[in-house]
Symmetry: C2
Subunit: 388 residues, 2 copies
């Protein structure tokens, strides 16, 4: 099921995937041609078409539902009041509709949801991020001390991330009240564009977003290198983030599907990431690979300038995930795709123009935040303005 919201956002933003992504009909036909297998499809808005969603669940009685029906970009969610309101309305209602529909139809299906590592916020505490739950001590009503496992505290950095923290509460409630089985995959920043399946045919190629709203950092760097644009590092580049290659994303979803929770088991939360990098180091790696320049530009986000990050991803490793890392050759593959389609790039779409705080200038200061000491502001900072 899809409502083509992402394609409509392209129209709204006047942006396009760097890769020439085909219509869904063409992609489904190509898949049939190449593999002899069918993928079913229904155009449907999960956040709105509740009755149709129930009918489909009732008719298909699926073993699992992979729930990606959410607006998925932090900068897009912060562009304006409309975008904030759309993101909250769409994401929270989509998740609640799905869960209510599963209860109403009585279908015993496993929900695999794409969350985000960003629910935890970055750098505000410098904590090691465990998988979903945290054991804390509280004062008991009777004066004794009580140890309890709680959902790990969140500190979302945008309206988009916020909606995923609201989703968590929905999952926890329906899991407790109705024993709905859920795996929530808190994903890092995805890079890469091809998977084993999409490589089968050119018509199956995935999106490659490079614009300031939907493009993710490593793909943006590789595309920028391909067109001779400096690598745009926001702020000091001291932000440390978790990453995962798109092929591993697919593997993780498969691992989650093959290992469903038992009825009555609490929500499973996996950290779906394979490695951690500081953004300026990442720019350095791409520079080494491609010879591109690096440019430090203003940071439109309100976030810690520098942070440490350590993430536990043991549960997916235990299920058999064998991480693809930047050290593997796949970064070169992405660079080749960027090179192949660079004629499709609209340079005016590269700057990240969505501001976290209204009317404010992008913040160029490097200052002490949280537990980390900011690096000195790089020389030439801001010389080209925020849009690089």
């Amino acid at each position: 099921m899809d409502n083509f919201a992402r394609r409509r956002a392209d129209v709204e933003l006047g942006a396009e995937s760097l890769t020439p992504i085909r219509t869904l009909d063409e992609r489904l036909a190509a898949w049939r041609e190449v593999t002899g297998r069918d993928i079913g499809f229904r155009e449907l808005d999960v956040a709105k078409d509740y009755d149709e969603l129930c009918e489909l669940l009732q008719a298909l009685r699926p073993e699992a539902v992979v729930h990606f029906a959410e607006q998925r970009a932090a900068p897009y969610s912060m562009k304006s009041s409309w975008h904030k309101r759309y993101t909250v309305d769409n994401n929270v209602n989509a998740t609640n509709n799905l869960l209510a529909a599963i209860v109403e139809t009585g279908v015993d299906c496993h929900v695999v949801h794409l969350g985000t590592m960003g629910v935890y916020g970055y750098g505000t505490a410098g904590t090691k991020i465990p998988e979903g739950y945290l054991s804390v001590r509280m004062d008991g009503a009777d004066g004794t001390e009580i140890e309890q496992e709680i959902l790990h505290p969140t500190n979302p950095g945008s309206i988009y991330h916020l909606t995923k923290t609201q989703d968590q509460l929905l999952f926890a409630f329906y899991n407790k009240n109705d024993e709905i089985r859920v795996t929530d995959l808190h994903q890092g920043i995805v890079w890469g564009t091809q998977t084993a399946e999409t490589k089968l045919d050119d018509r199956l190629i995935n999106r490659f977003d490079y614009d300031g709203d939907y493009g993710t950092v490593l793909n943006r760097f590789l595309m920028q290198a391909a067109i001779g644009h400096p690598l745009t590092v926001h702020g000091t580049g001291g932000q440390t983030r978790a990453f995962i290659h798109i092929q591993d994303t697919v593997r993780c979803i498969r691992l989650a599907l093959e290992n469903p929770p038992q009825r009555g088991e609490r929500v499973r939360i996996f950290n779906q990431m394979t490695e951690v990098h500081r953004l300026r180091d990442l720019a350095g790696i791409v520079q080494e690979l491609t010879g591109a320049e690096i440019e430090y530009v203003g940071n439109p986000r309100k976030e810690a300038f520098e942070n440490e990050l350590a993430v536990d991803n043991q549960r997916l490793l235990d299920l058999g995930l064998s991480p693809t890392t930047l050290a593997d050759d796949l970064m070169r593959e992405v660079a080749e795709i960027a090179e192949r389609f660079k004629h499709r790039c609209d340079r005016s779409k590269i700057p990240a123009r969505s501001r976290w705080v209204r009317e404010a200038e992008p913040d160029m200061r490097a200052e002490r935040t949280g537990r980390t000491q900011a690096a000195p502001a790089p020389a030439g900072l801001g010389s080209r303005g925020h849009d690089g």
Copy 2:
């Protein structure tokens, strides 16, 4: 601003306030007549009419907004998929619209929101409930231990309560990102019906809900006593809950308004309650006052059968709240109102018919849950079925 959702729910449920609540126009006119003062009013749906909300904020530039624009009953929120979806959609969008509108208009107003003690869940942990925040220890990314204040973990018992936990996340985000000043009043179960203001004129009388969806427990007991109906205790009556008289609710809102947070201050969270009672003890108090019988009926909710509860309400006491308790004479006043309007009671609306779990029989077991030992099931349990 009001969209009259509560009056429409009466129509939907075929229920009415025990007291003859007047139209808003009549109430506003009565207020003007009695006090010589005007209360402005605009019919508006905060969850939908975003542009009009912005225009009003822009025109009025209020110092504060008291935000009650939410579906407020747990049983109503659990009646069906429609009610779950309506409650989530209405409550989350109302709160997000208000916050987005404040950011968009740049009006520096204090938001006073009615939360609920129910965000914490009852009896699952037996913890003492502090005011909003909890200090916890986490592992640091660098191997050290970090102490951090987090929003107190939640464990909502219904979709309604869940939406208030989602609201908390919205407040925390807009407070962090946009420095919106918020006081969140986590209220206990309200009892009573009159305040100093509504007593000024019969036409100003407040609602008195006694139906299974919107009626609150102590008011229901007093009304049941007035009509010679047994006091309906759900389950074992071992549930311990926090209470507040409606007059104190008004005082607390006033105290919150008179003591706004500073710009940049984190969300203030007060526990708006004055005393704690176990439900079967409460029934005992009403029995003593009125001579009514007590009947133990099935519990439609999924909750702990027995729980301890201790709540910190020091911050409102420090601001000057002088609690009205059951020991005061106000319980008699409520009994008198119930007596005066008992001819308006529709006995068929008394049973709580909204089930937490689909198709399930109301749970009559008394079992060990959480940290508390259940009392033995009272004799005659269930002899009249769940609707008493």
